[in-house]
C-alpha cells in the first residue's frame, strides 16, 4: 500500500490529495494527472479571472449559452436546480446580476476529479478543495476520516480546530465550510441585496460535496432565516453554525459526529 499526497493549485486555492493505493507508481501518476486535469478544465471553462474563458465571454455578452460547451448549460441548470431547492438562498447570480457559478463549479470539479481517481481503482483517498473535503467511499478507517473544523478568524488568531468530527461508519462523505474566516464578507444575501452577516461560519456535513458546499453557502446567506432550509434538508445533512455573537449551534445529529479523542 503506497501512501500518496499531492497539492494542485487551481481556482486560486490548493487542492490537497491524500490517499493510499496498491496502484503502481506510473498508474498513480497518470491517475493524479487526469484528476487534476479535470480541475484545470473546469477552471478554463468557468473562470471569470481568465478573460478568454467561455464564461468570461458569456459575462461580456459576446456569446449565448447555446454557443458554449454543453457543460456550461449543465452547470447553469444545476445552479437553477439548487436555487429552487434552497428557496433562492443559493444563487449563482452576482449582485450585478451576472452569472457566477464558481460556488458550485469548485465542488462539481472536485467531484469529477475524485471520480477520475475512482476510475483508476483508487478507492481510499480524500481531496481537500480549499477547505471543502470529499472523501472516497471506501476510505480506510482511522485518521483520514477525522476532519478538523477551523475557528473563524474573528474568534481566534490561530488555525486551531474548533472541533474535530469523525465520519467513520457514517453515511457522510463530504464536509464544506462557508464563512468569513479568511475572506472577509464574500457571501451575498441575494434576497435582501446585502452581504450575509448573521453568521460567522457554517459547516455542512453531507453525503456528497456538492450538497455540502451549496447548502453551507445557502445557510450562510439565509442567516437567521435558515431554519426552513435546515429543516428541509434535515434528513440529508448535519450542520454546525457559529453566529455573529460567536455562539455555536448545531443540528441534533452533529454532536454525534464529534470525535471523542
Amino acid at each position: 500500500m503506497n501512501e500518496f499526497r499531492h497539492v494542485e493549485l487551481c481556482m486560486g486555492t490548493a487542492f490537497q490529495y491524500f490517499g493510499r493505493t496498491d496502484l503502481a507508481d506510473q498508474k498513480l501518476t497518470e491517475a493524479i494527472r487526469e484528476s487534476v486535469a479535470a480541475l484545470h478544465n473546469a477552471d478554463n471553462v468557468f473562470s471569470l479571472y481568465k478573460p478568454d474563458s467561455p464564461l468570461s465571454q458569456l459575462a461580456r455578452g459576446e456569446v449565448s449559452i447555446a454557443e458554449l460547451p454543453e457543460i456550461v448549460s449543465f452547470i447553469w441548470d444545476e445552479c437553477e436546480r439548487w436555487s429552487e431547492l434552497t428557496d433562492g438562498w443559493f444563487s449563482s447570480m452576482t449582485n450585478e446580476n451576472t452569472f457566477d457559478p464558481s460556488g458550485l463549479v469548485k465542488a462539481w470539479a472536485t467531484e469529477v476529479a475524485a471520480n477520475k481517481l475512482e476510475e483508476f481503482g483508487i478507492t481510499d483517498f480524500a481531496i481537500n478543495a480549499g477547505g471543502d473535503i470529499r472523501l472516497s467511499k471506501n476510505i480506510s478507517s482511522g485518521k483520514p476520516k477525522r476532519i478538523g473544523i477551523t475557528k473563524p478568524v474573528s474568534i481566534t488568531e490561530t488555525n486551531e480546530a474548533i472541533t474535530v468530527i469523525d465520519l467513520n461508519d457514517t453515511e457522510f462523505f463530504a464536509v464544506a465550510t462557508s464563512g468569513t474566516a479568511e475572506r472577509g464578507n464574500h457571501i451575498w444575501n441575494s434576497k435582501e441585496q446585502k452581504p450575509a452577516d448573521d453568521f460567522l461560519q457554517v459547516t455542512v456535513v453531507a453525503k456528497d460535496i456538492i450538497t455540502a458546499d451549496v447548502l453551507a453557502t445557502a445557510i450562510f446567506a439565509a442567516g437567521n432565516q435558515a431554519e426552513t432550509l435546515i429543516t428541509k434538508f434535515a434528513n440529508q445533512i448535519e450542520v454546525l453554525i457559529i453566529n455573529s455573537a460567536k455562539e455555536t449551534f448545531s443540528t441534533p445529529g452533529f454532536s454525534k459526529l464529534i470525535s471523542p479523542v
Binding site: D132, G148, R183, E227, I258
Partner: protein, 155 residues
C-alpha cells in the same frame, strides 16, 4: 421524514432547529494539536565553503558533527490576498528539521497562524500535514502550503 417532522414541531426560531453545543471539551484532540515548535534556530545548514581570496575563515569548530548533513532551500515569495509568505525548509536526510519563516505577513492578525502551520507541518513531515483534513481554512493556509511545496520541490 420523522426527523424532519420532529424539527418542525418546534417553535419557528433558529434555536429550535439547532441547539447550542459546547465544543470546548473536544477542541484539541491529539491529531490536531500543535507539536512544540523547535526553539533551536541554529540548525546547521550546508554552508558553501568560501573560496577565492577572502579573509581566512576560522577553522572548523571542534563541536561534534551532526549525523546527517542538513540542507536548506528557500521558497519563492508567495503573494496572496493578505500578505506574503516565504519560508526556508531545512532537511536532514529525509527529515524536515526546521521551517523558518523568512517573510510571513497577514492582515487581520492572521500572521500568528503561520507558527501554528509550521508546527503542524513539522509534526506531519510534509506539506499535506493535517490541513488535508481541515475544513474551513483557506487563504493563509493555501499560501503556506504553496510556499512549502515550492521549497520542498527544490530538494
Amino acid at each position: 421524514m420523522r426527523k424532519s417532522s420532529q424539527v418542525l414541531m418546534g417553535a419557528m426560531t433558529l434555536a429550535s432547529v439547532i441547539t447550542g453545543i459546547q465544543l470546548g471539551a473536544h477542541a484539541k484532540p491529539s491529531g490536531f494539536s500543535p507539536s512544540p515548535t523547535p526553539t533551536d534556530n541554529n540548525t546547521p545548514t550546508e554552508t558553501p565553503v568560501p573560496t577565492g581570496s577572502g579573509t581566512p575563515t576560522s577553522s572548523p569548530s571542534p563541536k561534534p558533527k551532526p549525523t546527517a548533513v542538513s540542507v536548506s532551500h528557500t521558497s519563492d515569495p508567495v503573494y496572496y490576498r493578505y500578505g506574503v509568505v516565504q519560508l526556508t525548509v531545512v532537511k536532514s536526510g529525509s527529515t524536515i528539521t526546521d521551517i523558518r519563516l523568512d517573510q510571513a505577513t497577514a492582515t487581520n492578525g492572521r500572521s500568528s497562524a503561520f507558527s501554528y502551520l509550521v508546527s503542524l507541518a513539522l509534526s506531519a513531515q510534509s506539506q499535506s500535514f493535517d490541513t488535508s483534513m481541515m475544513s474551513g481554512a483557506t487563504f493563509t493556509t493555501d499560501a503556506f502550503v504553496q510556499a512549502l511545496d515550492n521549497a520542498l520541490n527544490q530538494f
